[in-house]
Structure formats: structure tokens, C-alpha cells
Amino acid sequence: MNFRIRLLSFFFLLCFGIIIGKLFYWQVIDRERLVSLAAQQYYTDYQVSAPRGKILTADNFPLVLNRQSYLLYVNPQELEISPEKLKEKLEGIVDTSRIDQQVLREKKLVWFALAKDLTEEKKQAIEKLQIKGLGFEEGETRFYPEASMSAQLLGFVGESENGEKKGYFGLEGYYDHELRGQPGRNFFEKDALGRPMFLTGFFEEQPIAGRNLLLNLDRALQYVAEKHLKEGVERYGASSGLVLIMNPKTGAVLAMAAFPSYDPATYFRFEPDLFRNPVISSVFEPGSIFKVIVMASALEAGAVEPDEICTQCNGPRQIHDYSIQTWNDKYFPDSSMTDIIVHSDNVGMVYVAEKLGLERFYQYLEKFGFGKKTEIDLQGELKASLRKKEDWYEIDLATASFGQGIAVTPIQILKAVCALASGGELYRPQVVKKIFEDERSITIEPKKEGRPISAKTAKIVTQMMIEAVEKAQWKKPVGYKIAGKTGTAQVPIAGHYDPDKTVASFVGFAPADNPQFAMLVTIKEPTASPWGATTAVPIWMEIAEEIFRLWEIPPSS
């Protein structure tokens, strides 16, 4: 009897010991895991993403918005049809070329992304197929109402190494910190239905929406510039082209177009080379459009007078082993400074540059902003450096006087020409006018960077540019005073110039007596004609004509 009681007692003690042991294990050893498991059941803690800021044109039209988007995923464990059948059914709705059928056969997987950034319509189309194992995750994606308009200016939103949304290139890259906002967080105890219970722990951190950008960009101008640029590049059989329009009195960027371009909504389908904005990240030898800058520098320094007669313009100029000629091998012995600009006389420009001298020439280049970035508010600007002063030889000064052997970016050249149009004041190019959110806004004032030349010099050079346009036999808007200069630069390759390739440009501003806009048109490697006068000029004039009409600018005479 005693043995039985002892056995039973031992049995109870053993069971008790096991229970105590298990409780010790749960309470002490495995505590953390179980506490977190319980917390997962009782509490909800999730991140609330912040909507990315919008980008608006000067007329408050949204160029970039956010749109509800969906990520399509599959749970291979629940998939009841074969991967081949799934691919076949989704064909035409999503891009099925990237679906890895091997992965879909992996039954250990519970989640695999099939497609992202799907629209509501596509989601509904997939839902109609009633395929078990498919699901959607909600999110936001960038939406571009004007499609690919100003793609290289805007940039795009991709993903960082951590899988977070991140802006790349253009405005999206430069203002990423402003646009992205700050995600919020919700933490609360939930009931059996997953609803929040406010009597216990509750914590809510509202997301801070990204700031919006209001641009200086004129939507109508941007549309017109892109349209005419595309037509022009096709018409003249060019490889690419760009148009840049600025307000010379403030530095505001009114339009910036490049062709070919890409669609920022589907950027991953395009060659990465297209992401770079050629207006700020390509360098070229400006050719004759540079002559107005050199002439302005020489006049400002007092090296030449407007009515001075060139004493060396009667024939080709020999500098050591090099012979400098005019573009058409015609020479004008008694040319004044105005004639040199009107005839785009290379020999005349060598005369001007030599009178200015390397020291002052270099100083004025720096004053006009060459050799450094313009600091435009776009990601990806290239610094077109100037060669060290010690490395300049006589021939370098001579060729630089007519825009050869010197590399600049298109934004640098228009910024400098804007100084001629604004009476000598140099402004920093600015794309964004205002950064704003619900409660506050920051207006970005025009940034004046200096005065490379006086108002008097600016007026003289403007008059020279007016004559250059008026004496040319081009089709131009009737009654408007336009100041401009053509340029045809050769393309340097492996130590020499390609005989067949040119970069044709026209830079100018109008109305010349009260400039409302300054514009640069550059066409790369046109095949119909190599000259700026027959390729870039017609595009410039077509756009200018539309601007006069859109802005209701009355004729000068």
C-alpha cells in the first residue's frame, strides 16, 4: 500500500516537476520569443508611407502626381494552375517576360512579386481571371499627366539599395529630400477583429507629406519647344537636339527640352544614356555663338571700340603652323567690330582676342561663369573646366575667340548670353520658383551672381546681334527685333575634327529692346545641312513666333 502511495506521489511530483520545468522554460528561457509572439497577436505596428510631393508648372498644372498602384504577387503554395498557364493568362495585362517559372514551382515560397506599379484597371482585369494564389499590395507610384514631357528635367523615382523610393536625375534627384516626406507610424492594441482599442497602448505618428515644387517652367512653352525640336531633328536628319529658354532678367528656366527623350514612368525600358540631361551634362565646342561673349569682353575691357576697323581681316591669318580662315573663305578688309559679328568672321575674332590678351580673356570667361558649374537646381550638372591659364598657347587663344578648342555646357552658354540680354547682369539659372506644403512655402528669389559687363557694353553687343539677324536672309517673325548669333562647330574626335559632323546652334533673345526670353537651339550632327543658319535658326524662329503669339508680345515696329 505504502509503495503504491509513494509511487503515485512520485508520479505527481514528476508531473509537477515537468510542469514547473516547462513553465520555467516559457517564463524565463523562451520568454522573449513568446512575448513578441503575443505582441504580434495583440498589437499592430505598421509604417504609414508619406505621399511624395507633386511637381507643378508655373500655371499650377501638375507635371508629376501620385497615383494608386498595385504590386501583384503570387503565393506558389496556393497556386492551383501551372506556371505556364499562369503566364498565358496574364499575357497582355502585365509584362510576363520577367516571370521566372522555376521560382513559381518552388513550393516552399509563400510570396513572389510578379509585377509592380499596376493601375486600377489592370488590377481589375487580373481579378476577373479569378486565379487562386494571386494577391495585391497597395502603394503609390508617380504619374505623369503630360506623359514624357520634360522627362530629363524631371528625372524619375526608382528604388535605393534598401528598396526605398528614391529620386534620380533632374528635379527628382536634386530635391529628393524635399519631395520624399517622412513616413508615419501607427501602434495600437487590437481586438479580435483587428480594430484598435484606445483604452490601452495607442501611438500614432502622422506621416509628413513631401513638399511640392512649383516650377518656373511654362507648360505651353515646354510643349511648343519639344514639338518643334522633335520635328526639327527629324527634318534635318540630326542625331539629337536641345532647346533651352530662360528669362534673362531673373535666370528662370522657362523651357528645357531634349530629343531623344524617355518616359519617366517606364524609365527601366530605356537606355540609361537617355537619363542624362544634355542641357546640363553634355559639353560641346560652341563655335561662333561664343563670338558674342568674346566681343562683349573685349568691348568691356576697352581693348576694342565698336567702330574700330580690323587691320588684319584681309585674308587668312597664319599662327605658327596653323592657318585661320573664315567659314566661307571670303574676307572683308575694312570690317568694323559689328561687321565681324555680322559676317561671323573668324579672322576678325582673332584680331579682337589678341587685342584683349589671354589674361583678360581668361578673367572675363570666369566672370561670365565659364569653368565652373552654373549651380542650377538639377541633379547631374557637369563641370566644364577651363584649361589652366599656363597651358594656353597663342593658337588656343585664337581658336577660342571663335568658339573652338573650348568646351562649355549649353546651360553655361545661355546663362552668359542672358547677361547680354539683361543689361550686363548675370543670374543663376533656376528651375524651381517655390517649395510649398500645406502650411508654409519658401519662394526662391532670383540669384544675381554679378555683372560681367556694363549696361552700355550689353547694349552695343545687342545691337551687333540685331544686325547679324537683320542682315541674314532667314525667314523670321515679321516686325520683331531679334538679337542672335548662329554657330556651327565641328565635332572633335581623337585629336582632330570630324569633317562630316557638326553641332549647329543659334542663340538669341527677343524682343531685343526689352528681352522677354533668351533661347538656345542646338542640333547635333544634322545631315540635311551642316550649318546653324539652315537648321537651328528655323527651329528657333518657329518657337519664337509661337512665344510672341502665346505671350501676346506686340511687334517692335
Binding site: 502626381l65 503609390e140 499627366p145 503630360e146 506623359a147 480594430r195
Partner: protein, 85 residues
């Protein structure tokens, strides 16, 4: 003693009532949150739709479909055109 017991029971009932209210309001707030979210989604959708319909690309496409010709095209044809009445 009876008063303490009575007060204790009263507090207990009150706590239960408040707890119930809390749970109910949680449901209401969750419902309101959902409604706000769906309205925000609808707003996003409408904003995108309006912007797309007002975009120059869309207007130009519709104008071309309706037979309108751009001024630059007319200029190329050298036709005379009245810009303003």
C-alpha cells in the same frame, strides 16, 4: 464595509462600460479611417484623371482627331489665317 463593496462594484461596472465604449469607438475610428483612406484614393484617382484630360498631349490628340490644324502647319502651307476677330 457595505459602502466600500458598493463603490468597488460601481467602479467595476464603470470600467466595464468604458472598456466596452473603448472597443466600440475603436470600431468606429477604424471605419472612419477606412472611409478617409478610400476618399483619399478617390481624390488621387480624380486628380490624375482631370490632369490627364487637361494635358496638352491629350488636347492636341483630341484636336487632331477632330480635324483641327495647328497654326504652324497652316503657316507652312502659306495659307492666310485670321488670328483674331
Amino acid at each position: 464595509m457595505k459602502k466600500i463593496a458598493f463603490a468597488f462594484i460601481l467602479c467595476l461596472i464603470l470600467k466595464l462600460l468604458l472598456l466596452g465604449q473603448g472597443v466600440l469607438s475603436g470600431g468606429t475610428v477604424a471605419g472612419l479611417d477606412e472611409e478617409i483612406l478610400s476618399l483619399k484614393e478617390e481624390n488621387l484617382k480624380l486628380e490624375a484623371e482631370i490632369a490627364q484630360n487637361l494635358s496638352y498631349h491629350h488636347i492636341a490628340q483630341k484636336a487632331a482627331e477632330s480635324g483641327f490644324v495647328s497654326l504652324s502647319e497652316l503657316a507652312k502651307k502659306d495659307s492666310s489665317v485670321a488670328l483674331r476677330p
